[in-house]
């Protein structure tokens, strides 16, 4: 006898939705669309609830309701309470076409902070380290064999380093789309740039091939997990466990 608990009901509903989504394999249909809109509604509602409960309320309301309260007139409240309230209200004015311009202040601040984070992280986290890593490919300890190192291993290491360097440079050259205008008026790259760019395209294709294989591997596993889930539901219904 199957005990219909909430978890079982949830599992059955999940299995039903899984089958409705898989019906898309045949073609787009009403069942698939119902499952999609149901999913979007729940996902958006959940996201809103967690944003309000975990971020907005603690930042804007809890200071007033907290133990001891908050002196809203104090300097501490200015930065932690008043200004956030003002910024939040100004941002909500973006919903009104007439008052949307007043919401430009918080948006400007968001944009400025986001740009700074991207610039700072890009320079310190990617540009410098990766450039140093590419330069270290030609370090003597990488190029020259170590003491007692077999030749095959040294060759493999050296060739790999050179290939990585070549792939890095050729890929960067490919993303450079500047060209010169020749006498006929047409624009084209120089011969060396064109050759390097083509090599970079090949390395990019190899990279994307590896990424594609990885994504396919993950998808296969997910597909298997879904059917495993369906099998478990069936077993539960049959077995009553």
């Amino acid at each position: 006898m199957v005990e219909f608990s909430l978890d079982l009901i949830g599992m059955l509903f999940g299995a039903l939705l899984t089958l409705m989504v898989f019906s898309y394999v045949i073609k787009d249909n009403v069942l698939f669309r119902i499952a999609m809109y149901l999913f979007i509604g729940v996902a958006s509602g959940y996201a809103g609830a967690i944003a309000v409960r975990n971020v907005i309320l603690p930042a804007l309301v809890d200071p007033l309701l907290g133990s001891g309260g908050l002196n809203v007139l104090g300097w501490e409240a200015l930065g932690t309470f008043l200004i956030p309230w003002v910024l939040a209200i100004l941002m909500t004015l973006k919903l009104s076409p007439r008052l949307a311009r007043f919401g430009s202040l918080p948006i400007a601040m968001l944009v400025g902070v986001g740009a700074a984070v991207v610039v700072g992280g890009g320079i310190t986290g990617t540009l410098i380290p990766q450039s140093l890593a590419a330069a270290d490919s030609l370090a003597p300890e990488n190029i020259f064999p170590a003491t007692g190192e077999p030749l095959s291993i040294w060759l493999e290491r050296a060739v790999s380093a050179l290939i990585v360097l070549l792939a890095t440079i050729s890929t960067l050259v490919y993303f450079r789309f500047a060209a010169q205008r020749d006498l006929t008026g047409s624009t084209r790259r120089s011969r060396l740039t064109a050759i390097l760019a083509y090599i970079g395209r090949v390395f990019i294709a190899v990279t994307f091939g590896v990424m594609y294989a990885g994504a396919l591997t993950a998808a296969i596993l997910i597909l298997g997990q879904r059917f495993e889930f369906l099998r478990q539901v069936i077993n539960t219904l049959i077995g009553g466990s």
Partner: protein
Amino acid sequence: MKIGAYMLWAATAVGTGLIVLLGYFVQLDAAAPIGLLGTIFGLRLLIMRWAVLLAAVGLVLGLVNLFTVHWRKISDQERGWGYSALLILTFFITLILGLVFGPDSRVVLLLFNAIQLPVEASLGALLAITLTLAGFRTLQRRRDLIGLAFIFTALLVLIGSGPGIVPNASPGFELFSGLRNWLAQVAAAGGARGVLLGVALGSILTGLRVLLAIDRPYGD
């Protein structure tokens, strides 16, 4: 808005951005800095807290816009308005339950596990069929060296990754495994590094244009 307001927005973006950017290049010790640097550090933290709060407010505003769009669809009785009605219904049920009982309540988690998780996982599973079909048609639609390199690299990585055409215990699997490792860790790594550098350069340039008020996506 006139020129005055526009300059205020630009000044806000540039000012806050420069203060946040300063923290990336000035290494601070574990101890809280004092003096001007301490003030700037404190201001930097305050600004980022405001940004985190505003990001959550922005998410809520996005949900309001989602509701508005679908409500208009229902009001105008557009094609497919029934789906929009279903969306709004489930949206409000989940939101109200989440606000009242909390997003970590059992009811809300049940909705998550019964609806959102299965549907999203099933969509990921459909991805396997889609990717396989795309791989099957690659050489039919792109018959050049690039397509050839792409599909054969994928095949080699798949064969060398796990069980398949060549079983793990077979002698040939070591060859394909080594080939797979070389492709992923040497050839693809070089290309990936170039891609990462290119992406980083583009992001840095875009960010600098914003910090220099050349681009003003925040409007007037």
